[in-house]
Symmetry: C2
Subunit: 425 residues, 2 copies
Amino acid sequence: MKNSALSRLGQRAEAPPISWLMDVALSRPQLISLAAGFTDSESLPVKDARDLLNEILKSQKSGQAALQYGSTAGDPMLRELTAQDFRLLDGVLEPDKDYAPERMVITNGSQQMLYMVTEALCDEGDIVLVEDPTYFVFLGILQSHGLRGGGIRITQDGIDLEHLRAKLEALKKSGDIKRLKMLYLVTYYQNPTGMTTSFANKAGALKMLREYERAAGHPIYLLEDAAYRELRFTGDDVKSGLAVREFADRVIYAGTYSKPFATGTRVGFGILPEPVYTAVIRIKGNHDFGSSNLLQQLIVRAITSGKYEHHLTALQLRYAKKAKTMLAALKKYFPPGVTWWEPKGGLYYWARLPEKVHSGVKSKVFQAAVARDVLYVPGELCYTDDSDRSKPNHEMRLSFGGGTEANVRSGIERLGGVLAEVMGA
Amino acid sequence: MKNSALSRLGQRAEAPPISWLMDVALSRPQLISLAAGFTDSESLPVKDARDLLNEILKSQKSGQAALQYGSTAGDPMLRELTAQDFRLLDGVLEPDKDYAPERMVITNGSQQMLYMVTEALCDEGDIVLVEDPTYFVFLGILQSHGLRGGGIRITQDGIDLEHLRAKLEALKKSGDIKRLKMLYLVTYYQNPTGMTTSFANKAGALKMLREYERAAGHPIYLLEDAAYRELRFTGDDVKSGLAVREFADRVIYAGTYSKPFATGTRVGFGILPEPVYTAVIRIKGNHDFGSSNLLQQLIVRAITSGKYEHHLTALQLRYAKKAKTMLAALKKYFPPGVTWWEPKGGLYYWARLPEKVHSGVKSKVFQAAVARDVLYVPGELCYTDDSDRSKPNHEMRLSFGGGTEANVRSGIERLGGVLAEVMGA
C-alpha cells in the first residue's frame, strides 16, 4: 500500500522557498532580514484602522452589514470605487466597459487572484511565460499545477520583446503554442528586480501575443500583476495594459490594497475579461464564496474618508527614504563589480554579482551571510525551469521594506563585508 | 479558433445554485427567503467586535502585529486555543498529538479547508462518497474538479452503514476503489437535513473505510465537516471522529468561527493528519499565504475575553427559539403527508413531501412559492450525481437562520398554502 492518497497537485506542492528563509530568520532573532517582502510595521495605519472600524461598528446597521456574509464577487461599493480609481489612473475619463465594476472581483490578497486565474486557464502540461526572473510564489502555483514555464529576458523597460518573439516562434514550430495560455508580468517595481514595464512594452507584448493566437487556437492572455503599483516614490504612474484599448479583452489585471494600506487585511482585487471573469467568480464561489465583508468595509471607509490616500502618500515618502538609504549603503559597502538598477517604487533592489560568484542557498556567500546574521533572497529562487538556459545563480533580492533605516544600512554593510571577502576585493 | 482558453476546471465550474436563488431574492425585496443559510443579522456581535478591535488597535504593538502579514498556517495563539478547545470538547484531557496545534491550519471559512483538502487528495476522475443529500457547495467543488460522487443514504443517526458497505463492495468489485479518496460527512445538524451523526456511526464508518484500504492501495479519509457543531440548542455535544482514537490519522476535521461568531469574519480551521497537513499548508501558501491576521486576532480576543462563549450561549438560545417557531408553523400550516426530523442545532429543517409532489426549480410548487414571495432550497440541488438512483425531487431545505420569527412563521404559512393547493389537501 502506498502510504499516501495525495493527488498529483498534493504531491507536487512544495514549501515556498521564502518559508524556509523565514524559519532561518526566526531561529536567529538577532538576524537582519533583507529577504522578507514585508511592509514596514512602523508604517501600518493602526490609528486609522481603529477609527474606521469604530465608525463601521458604532451603528447596528453598518455593523451588522459588515459582520454578515457578503457576495462572492465582493462588496458592490468597493468594486465601484476600485474600478473608478483604476479607470481614472489609466486616463480613461468616462465610464467604460473595460473598467466596469461588473468585471471586478475582490480576493484574499492579489495572490488568490493569481491562483484562481491559473486554475481557470491552465490544465496540467500547459505553458505560462514569465519574466526571467519573476515572483517566486507565482512559480510555486505553476509548479504545483504541473505547468511548464518559460522565461523571457528583461531589460530596464520590460521584457525583451525580441526574446518573446523567439520563444513564441519556437513554441509555434514545436506545436506547443497550443498549450500556451498566458504571459505573466509583474509590471510595476517588479518583484524581484524593481524594474517597471513601460506602456509601450505592454502594448508591444499584447500585439505580439495576438499574432500567435491563430496558431494557438485560443486567446493568449496577459496576466498583469500590479501589486506594487501604488508604492511609487518617484516618476509618473504608467498606464496599465487595460489602457491598450485594442487588446483590453486580453488583459487580466491583479491589484491589491494589502501592500499600500495594511498587509494584515489581505484585500486584493482583479479586473478580468469574459469568459475568464465568470470562471473565476465560480471558482471563488467554491474557494470561499466571498472575502471577509468586514475587511472590505474597512477599505471602503479608508478610501471614502481620504485616509487611504493620506496614508499612501506618507508610505511613499517613507519607502523613498529607505530606498535612498539602501542605495547609499550599496554604493558605500558593496565591492566594485556588483551592479543594480534604481527602482522607482516597490520594496526591492536586485544586486547582480559577477557571474562566477554564486549567491544560491548552498553558496559560500549565502552561508557566510547567515553566519553574519543577514539574510537575502537568493536570485536562483526567482527563475522558472527553462531548458533554454541554466538557472542564473549570481543575484540577490534585497528588500528595504520591512527593516528600519538602521537595519537596512547595517544589513547592507554586513553583506558588503561578505561579498568583499568572497570576491577577494 | 476556440473563443476560450479556459482549463477543464474553468469550463466545468458552475454557478452555485444558491447564487441563482439569491438573485431571485434580490429581485423581489418583499420575498421571504427560507433558502439562505445566513445567520441572523440581529444576532451579530457588533458591540463585542467593536470593543475587541479597539483593544487590539489601541496599542501600537498589538495593532501593528494585527495589521502585518502572519504565517501561512495561522496565528499560533489561535491554533493553540482552538486545538485545546476541541481536544477538551472531545473529552481528551491531556495534550495529545491528534489535537496538536501543529496539525492545525486557519482558513478563510471552513469552505477553503474543504477546497484545499479536495485539491490535496483528488485527481480528476477520483471518487468521493457523500451523504445523500449533502452540502451543495461541496458538490460544486467536486463537480468543478471532475470528480465522481456517490451518495450514501442517511438515517436519523448518520449514514446507513450497510449502504456504505454495499457501495464499497461495488467499488472494490469494479476496481474503482483505487480511485476512492474520501468520505465527506457533515456531522452536526447537517446541511441540509439537520441530522446529527452519532459517535458510534462515525466509528463504524472509519472502521469500514479502513477495511477497504488494502484494496484501494492507499488511505481513505473521513472529511468531517463540523461547521454547525457550535450551533447546538438541545442535547449533548457528540465527540468528533478524532475521538475514535484508533483511526484519528484518517480524520480531517473542518470547523469554523464564522457561523458561531460572525459570518463576515470568515475564519475557519482544520485539524489534519500527515501527509495531508503538509500538502494543505503548501497549497494554502499558494492560495494566499495566510488568512487575515486582523480577523484572527479578533477571534483570539473574543475567546480569551470570554465574549465568544457568552455570545454563543445567547446565539444558541436564539436559534432554539426560532427552530421552535418553525416547528410550530410546520405543524400548523403544512398539510398531512409532509414529514421532517427535529434538528438539535444548526439552521435547517428538511421537509419531505410525498414522492410524487415535485419541489425542484421547474416544479409547480417552486414556481407557486416564488409567486407568493417565499423561497426555499429545492432538495434536488443537494444530491450528487449517482447512477445507482435517480435524483430525489420531493424535498425542501427550510432555513430558520436568517429571518425574524415573524418571517419564519409567515414564510411557512405561505409555503403551507402552496403545498395544500398543489397536493389538493
